[in-house]
Amino acid sequence: MTETATPYISDKRTPKKSAEDLRAQIPGWGADLDPADRPSYPREQPGIETGAHWDFPERQPEKWPRERSVEHALLPPVFGTSTPPAGASGAIRRHAYKYSEGRAAHWLLLVAADRVDAWEHHLKSFAALRPDNPITETGVAAEFRRGGLSSRIGQKRADTDHQWIDPIIVGAPWVLGAAGLAAALKALGKHRTT
């Protein structure tokens, strides 16, 4: 006769290992068993010492109109100054910040701006001394130096079913761009000869 499984009765069927056994087997077992020893218990600890010696921090100078969430009452006193918005992607980003964080439009516009931003910089790089190089920048050489095949073949990995999409995501826009450029040059050449 099979035993009734745990949830159908009041006590667990599987006996627990004793604390003594666990302490003997696992270094530090139970060292934080008392919640009082857990640093994030309770979650909120009003008056915790932080090292701050101000009530409200001095304000960092705003060197350009800093985009900010409309859910903020004011521009926070300290902020990052990496990569100010610029170009078409910058315009999309500034528009996105007109919507609150609760609106899908805010995030979807920012994601769209990210894609536009990447293309703006790829195109700009071709006019610079250091154009984008999809081979070195993707680090794909690691496939040959760091066991690309042996890391996958014979392994029960769940991610190999979609990894084939990655080269398409990275490479397809470059292939399409090159094909478009070739078509444009061909059309221009034809136009000049006629």
Partner: protein, 382 residues
Amino acid sequence: MRAMVYRGPYKVRVEEKDIPKIEHPNDAIVRVSKGAICGSDLHLYHGMMPDTRVGMTFGHEFVGTVHEVGSSVRNVAVGDRVMVPFNIYCGSCYFCSRGLYSNCHNVNPNATAVGGIYGYSHTCGGYDGGQAEFVRVPFADVGPSKIPDWMDEEDAVLLTDACPTGYFGAQLGDIEAGDTVVVFGAGPVGLFAAKSSWLMGAGRVIVIDHLEYRLEKARTFAHAETYNFAEYDDIVVHLKKETDYLGADVVIDAVGAEADGNFLQHVTSSKFKLQGGSPIALNWAIDSVRKGGTVSVVGAYGPIFSAVKFGDAMNKGLTLRMNQCPVKRQWPRLFEHIQNGYLKPSDLVTHRIPLEHIAEGYHMFSAKLDNIIKPLVVAGQS
């Protein structure tokens, strides 16, 4: 200075950039000696995090030496070796003054739902990160701490995010003596969560992943039972069987936005960015925890909606607990655990990548090559 810069999805390179300047009286400039690539950096690398701009330097796990300080800095001085939590926080706002450092309201103009994080998109404040030779560290009197003399520098790097986040994840589970804890994800955060679950008194710790070499690490480093979900038709049913059909008392999601195990979920989020994250691990957590149990989420998700099975969570009466880890709150206790020999964070370091080779480092980590678990980034070496 040399710095990693993002060039678009799946593309990064190292460029010359200006050394960051003091922009606020409580800033410090830190010369980075060691950094790391975090699993959550891959969400940026794959273009999943909204407002990730070309030209940004990533990196929220780093240690180094104070190079310059602003006029109001008192607690650290030029020449100090410091470890810097991934949270940027003021220490004085409504949230910081209650210990919720990761939810600071004074450091991120771009969003109110998340605090400031180094090198983690403009959605997290627009700060350049530490995969560079130098980095600006705001609120130097609040965030960084001097690295204790006895501490190994590689342990210190792991203490800036991965180790405290895993430890925090176990705390969010409210583990009681003898509890069965399931951890989804055997990356660094999951491994630290599993190890920490024993510290909290777990009676059984089970780790789930699909990478055999990581499950091996879960067995040796975290003394855990392990299962490869790719070997089972339905890992939730297997976990039910393993727990006599009750379910685990606590389940920790240490995977986050790029979970594998369901092609449609993964592709719609990771590849086509139509979800804030692929909630496979979170849904498995909801399904495999017992009724009335607790799900702890420390895996990172983006701000866009995700297809989470919220109805099951409600019907099962679950407690869902989650947050970005307030790192510095964890340090005193974690320092004790390291000194007592209960934890050795740097045991998870598998690769040390020179900054100049960081593009290959990102690819290796993204594609899970060469049994990679935790890659450090070493500045200043060719």
